[in-house]
Amino acid sequence: MSTIAIQPRTSRMISPVTILIYLILLGALIFTLIPIVFMFSASMMPSKDILKMPFRWIPRGFHWQNFAKAVAGNDGSYIFIRNFMNSMIVSGIVTLTTVILSAITGYGLAKFRFKGRNFVFLAIMATMMIPFEAIMIPLYMVATKFHLQNSYGGLTLPFLVNAFGVFMMRQYLLPFPDEFLDATRIDGAGELGIFWYVVLPNCAPAIATLSILTFRSQWDNLLWPLLIAQSEKMKTLPLYIVKFSAEKYTNEGAMMAVAVLASIPMLILFFTMSKYFVSGSAVFNSRKG
């Protein structure tokens, strides 16, 4: 297949505008990546190297004590592991329920005609305008009334489904052919069976995007766990980070090691599924459609 392309010898001049564009793009690249590179380099250095005057970007070696300290904690309790698992469990539960409930609701709204459908849809959309920060106090009081502090139930309940997920699944399912659904009905499939075996597998890209968005937002959630999880055992990773950074005599290297460990699951997701990661942001743009 390889053919030798004979390039015409027009030595193309690179215009100054092009150079300028590349310089700006490069500047932005340095700005966005430097702090991340800093986190990784610093996590492998003894603290005294991190705050040394010319910062050395390539660590002299791997200072593994930072990571040991990050996991053991300042008090050697190894609560980090438990907190890390809590974050995994909470994010996992929320992602699973959000995906299934959003798909079911989105399917119901997109493919069934019933009285009040538009009203229900608008009502659900309206909840997107209620910021969590405005309802955290009443939610907190409800949670305390039902003794949900320091429990997985308390950590996950307010997030089991969200309006954006419903909206996204509905938009995705609107163009799904009705004839296809009717055909499976005539073949004798039950409604739940149709949803599970026909609709759900056909939503894979939307599900992937929604999963990533949901998982990330839970992984990042600081405010609600701050209210609901007081016991060390039930804290999540963001709370561990807050505690670790607020403790006096913190060593910078260990702090960066904690940051690296907290970022690893997200970075793995990002590198394997960057397509869905990025399309999740762009999905907002299709809301008019």
Partner: protein, 301 residues
Amino acid sequence: MKKPYGGIERKLSRWGWIFITPSLLFFSIFSFYPILNAAYTSFFRKKILSLKPPTFIGLKNYSYLLQSSDFWNSIRATFVFTVGTFIPLVVFSLLLAVLILSVRKGQKYLQLAYYAPAVLSSVVAAVIWLSIFDPRGIGNQWVNFFMNTPGIDHKWLASSFMVQFSTILVYFWKYIGYFVVIFIAGLSAIPGSLYEAARIDGASNWQSFWRITFPLLKPTVVLVSVMSMLQCLKTFSTQYLFVQAGSPQAPINVITLNIFNTGIRDHHIGRSSAMSIILFLIMLFFTWFQFKTSKADDVTY
């Protein structure tokens, strides 16, 4: 599917209700009830953990807030943070998106690289920048290098101006790539034929940007502006961590931080509910504003 077979039609509409009921219940309990409850609580003097029944005080919480310098300081801090963050975000992400699309190579990689900070959680972002802003950290080193002011401490986390600037910088860094991606999606939706036609008519790059790209991109610009504004109004993690790390609270005491402290630390549930309702109304206004403007500007290619 209009009305020919009544039985199946009814059965299907029943299934529709079955499918939406779980979420409807959820939203009633975890969204509608709490916002109504917050509105209701805002009329009471109520203390958490107190056995005394809450006393009805009407609008006193609101009038208290309107006279409280602490509350107005929060409004100011939120306003400074929001305006200081979203304007540069919109301007620079649009600029970067246009520049990325104008180069021939590496568009995908540049997008991903700019997006990378958005992958990290906001707590991690705050912690990284706390290290950078350390008096002996690389923040000072770099600024001193470029401004040729060796040995100056710029007090990133200490002086009231700099700590506001620092929180803005962290947020700007974290979200720039996110908005670049949205702008690129918006820009890619504009059909190339328009540019070809303009080129044939002799338009320069500059002219086709202002005459074609910008007007057609207006809905995206409005969308991104409101989205980033709403995002900024809700900021919490960065400010919380900075305060925990010893920064002065007053300059960055944004409204969410104030709600949290008033309600949870000081136990003034009624007062913090009133603040929540004010935040809600502000955000509702901007969302309404967005729907209004984006409807009026709906473009067809």
